[in-house]
């Protein structure tokens, strides 16, 4: 172990490994937040070749205030649902960027290579911005297009997301 302090800089090593350097940034956890948030069911509807209800939306769920300078979210989350879909009811996942909950392949009758293009997608991101912790849901969804005079509804079921988060910043 070595501690060096000179010219306004402190360095601490463990053996040859640098552990602490005041010239670097360290993760500073400002808030520990736990809770849950419910995401409603999404239904995309198509009648014939006309989308009746389609999604190209970003929904924001405010989870409460955090430190005004916080911009990094670490931690874990757990997804539950009454109907199995996506990766619900599986286990705790680490948070780091965007979590893709659901996607499926397009099933347009006019696709030459069916099931190779994503048809519907739903993803979630925890983020800290301007003193607020929030969950962003990004969804793009269209129900299958076809030529018949019938209505087709595609459902992405409701889920509940439990979370245990360390919110902070590198300072």
């Amino acid at each position: 172990m070595t501690v060096r302090a000179s010219a306004g800089r402190i360095e601490i090593t463990d053996g040859s490994h640098l552990v602490f350097d005041t010239n670097e940034k360290l993760f500073h956890g400002t808030d520990y937040v736990t809770g849950s948030v419910s995401i409603p069911q999404r239904e995309a509807v198509t009648h014939g070749s006309t989308p009746v209800v389609a999604y190209d939306n970003t929904y924001v769920y405010n989870l409460g205030p955090v430190n005004a300078n916080a911009d990094t979210v670490l931690g874990s989350f757990y997804v539950t649902a009454s109907t199995y879909q996506g990766v619900a009811n599986v286990g705790w996942f680490a948070i780091g960027g965007t979590y893709m909950h659901y996607y499926d392949a397009i099933d347009s009758l006019f696709s030459r290579n069916q099931h190779v293009v994503i048809g519907r997608a739903q993803a979630f991101t925890f983020r800290a911005q301007a003193g607020n912790l929030r969950l962003e849901e990004r969804i793009v969804a269209v129900s299958p297009i076809h030529g018949e005079d019938i209505t087709v509804t595609t459902k992405i079921f409701a889920i509940n997301i439990q979370y245990k988060l360390y919110v902070g910043l590198f300072t």
């Binding site: 172990m1 501690v3 670097e24 993760f27 389609a54 960027g97 965007t98 990004r138």
Partner: protein
């Protein structure tokens, strides 16, 4: 008595800080992995001119690693634009 400061030939402990631990240190120099500060993936809606056959196009981009879809339903000729999204990250090491 609560330990506040311990300095020996092999240890440095100050409150919760212990030189034997490994901390996340933000540094571009010698960084080992990125930690995102927001989304790591973007989903854009791509469709034909009439907007009917719109489908999601996904682009994952973190610290120079990019995976994205660039072709449409016919795969070979119908190139799509997945956007120019890049995740905001903090490069770290321990």
């Amino acid at each position: 008595m609560t330990l506040k400061l311990l300095i020996t030939g092999s240890d440095f402990v100050a409150g919760n800080f212990n030189a034997r631990n490994r901390y996340l240190r933000g540094s571009a120099l010698g960084a080992r992995f990125p930690i995102s500060k927001g989304p790591t993936l973007s989903i854009v809606s791509y469709g034909g001119g009439n907007g009917v056959f719109r489908t999601p196009v996904v682009r994952y981009s973190v610290n120079g690693f990019v995976m994205q879809r660039t072709t449409g339903n016919d795969e070979s000729t119908n190139h799509v634009d997945a956007g120019n999204f890049n995740a905001v990250v903090q490069l770290v090491k321990t």
